[in-house]
């Protein structure tokens, strides 16, 4: 299971990559592997506001729908359009294929997420 360093991870298996005050959000390798083949990703729209620990969309495998939980709060400034027609990109590379880009409104939220080492240990529990 890949868990790249430098990203921040939530207990609900989303990751955040911080760049210039923005956070790119996706789901972890562990999450895509547990889900199986992703066949649909439902995302918010640009300019929607997402709130930490609340649902911002859903990812659906052949078998079931799972909520996506926002690991950070802020306005969505971009969504990854590629996922609309190619949801399988989440399986192919869950770290290259982010879902939403958020303008971080509270940088301290990041500190409450896990680093790669902590998240790896969390997944093994």
């Amino acid at each position: 299971m890949k868990t790249p360093k430098g990203l921040y991870y939530a207990e609900t298996h989303e990751w955040v990559k911080v760049e210039d005050g923005f956070g790119y959000v996706g789901i972890s390798d562990y999450a895509q592997h547990s889900l199986g083949e992703v066949v649909y990703v439902e995302l918010p729209e640009e300019n929607d506001h997402v709130t930490k620990d609340t649902e911002f969309g859903a990812v659906e495998s052949v078998k079931a729908a799972s909520d996506l939980m926002a690991p950070v709060s802020g306005v969505v400034v971009a969504i990854n359009d590629d996922l609309e027609d190619s949801p399988e990109l989440i399986n192919e590379d869950p770290y290259e294929n982010w879902m939403i880009k958020v303008e971080l409104e509270d940088p301290s939220e990041i500190e409450r997420l896990m680093n790669a080492e902590e998240y790896s240990a969390f997944c093994e529990e």
């Binding site: 199986g36 066949v39 649909y40 439902e42 659906e60 052949v62 078998k63 609309e84």
Partner: protein
């Protein structure tokens, strides 16, 4: 949690295991979509050893089964199989099952794993005449070999030619010098066979089939395949509160003979059905899932019972239980997905044509 006799084989194959009906079962080995395609285009095998098997035998076996089972068994020839239901007095379904007729005094009933105990209790509570009921579920393993190449595999792996075996019939034969009950049945909408044998023989059959190049397929694809072929799943399209008539399964209900639930089902038929299981197609993006409500304007008129977006189908599809008159083909309704409404259309629930072998002429047909 219970395990089937093939549990170690699934672990060795690194299957993704899940709980199903109290059993630890393989959901998939590599991918649900690939395993689905494998059954449609070639051949694959399922461990279905979790299914329950009961033997009913004795001088009064035929009238006894006839009085509980919705389909007619009296007219079956030895070696023929009928699909049907055990119903409550009110027509609700206790279980759907296959009844294998050995002869007038002996039947094999194959029931859903989740219902083994309640079915056994139900049948036992209604025992009448000179019959004995035995639960042999733990003595048998079961493998479902399914797909257009299934017959070829039987010939290649076991030198068994199933050409004379008609759809919905069975034979007690020997494979690998061991007794095997082999039927031309399945739950995929494809040609295929189900092999019932002792625990030890089941393990041997599985290994020989693996060695012959047959890939295993998990419960994930078992569900997408049956869904695409418009086959019901107990607890979804039929249940204690959804009758076979509401589910559109009247072909397996012979209303001309007495059985538990006959009167309620006759009344339901004559009073016109108040709700029906229908097919739905989503007009737009998203996926309909079990439990999602269906609306006509502001009125909730039904609920999704099974839903998928299958790689083999362009649209997201579902079965749903819909109140009349909204069940009619072409009706435009709305589904609620995560607090948002999306348009759907009622369509034929046969999402794909079945490719099973035709039944032989002497097979019973409902009139």
């Amino acid at each position: 949690m219970k395990r089937t006799c093939l549990y170690q084989a699934h672990i060795a194959l690194q299957a993704k295991m899940v709980e199903f009906a109290g059993f630890e079962m393989p959901l998939y080995y590599k991918s649900i979509a690939a395993e689905h395609d494998l059954i449609r285009e070639n051949v694959g095998m399922f461990d279905v050893s979790h299914m329950g098997e009961f033997i009913i035998e004795g001088k009064d076996a035929t009238p006894f089964v006839e009085a509980l089972f919705t389909n007619r068994v009296e007219a079956l020839n030895p070696g023929q199989i009928a699909y049907g239901f055990l119903c409550q007095e009110d027509g609700g379904v206790v279980d759907d099952l296959l009844v294998y007729k050995h002869h007038q005094n002996r039947y094999l009933l194959v029931v859903n794993a989740a219902n083994i105990e309640q079915d056994f209790a139900w049948i036992k509570a209604h025992l009448k005449g000179e019959v004995t009921l035995t639960n042999v579920s733990d003595d048998f393993g079961e493998i479902a070999l399914q797909g257009p190449q299934a017959a070829t595999i039987l010939k290649r792996a076991f030198a068994y030619d199933p050409q004379a075996l008609a759809y919905f019939s069975f034979e007690e034969t020997t494979l690998l010098d061991q007794p095997v009950l082999l039927s031309r049945t399945g739950y995929t909408g494809e040609d295929g066979f189900e092999l019932y044998a002792s625990i030890e023989t089941t393990k041997m059959l599985w290994q020989i089939l693996l060695d012959s190049g047959v890939q295993p397929v998990g419960l994930g694809a078992r569900d997408t395949l049956r869904f695409e072929a418009a086959l019901p799943l107990y607890g979804h399209e039929i249940s204690r509160t959804i009758t076979p008539l509401e589910a559109g399964l009247s072909f397996a209900v012979d209303l001309t003979k007495p059985f538990i639930g006959q009167e309620a089902l006759l009344a339901q038929k004559e009073g016109s059905l108040k709700r029906r299981i229908v097919g739905l197609k989503l007009l737009g993006k998203g996926i309909m899932r079990e439990g999602y409500p269906i609306y006509a304007g502001q009125t909730c008129v039904g609920v999704v019972t099974t839903g998928y977006k299958l790689p083999t189908q362009d649209d997201a599809l579902a079965f749903a239980l819909i109140d009349a008159p909204h069940h009619k083909l072409g009706t435009q309704l709305e589904v609620e997905i995560r607090q948002k409404r999306f348009p759907v259309e009622v369509r034929n629930k046969k999402f794909r044509a079945k490719k099973t072998k035709e039944k032989t002429e002497e097979k019973y047909e409902n009139t």
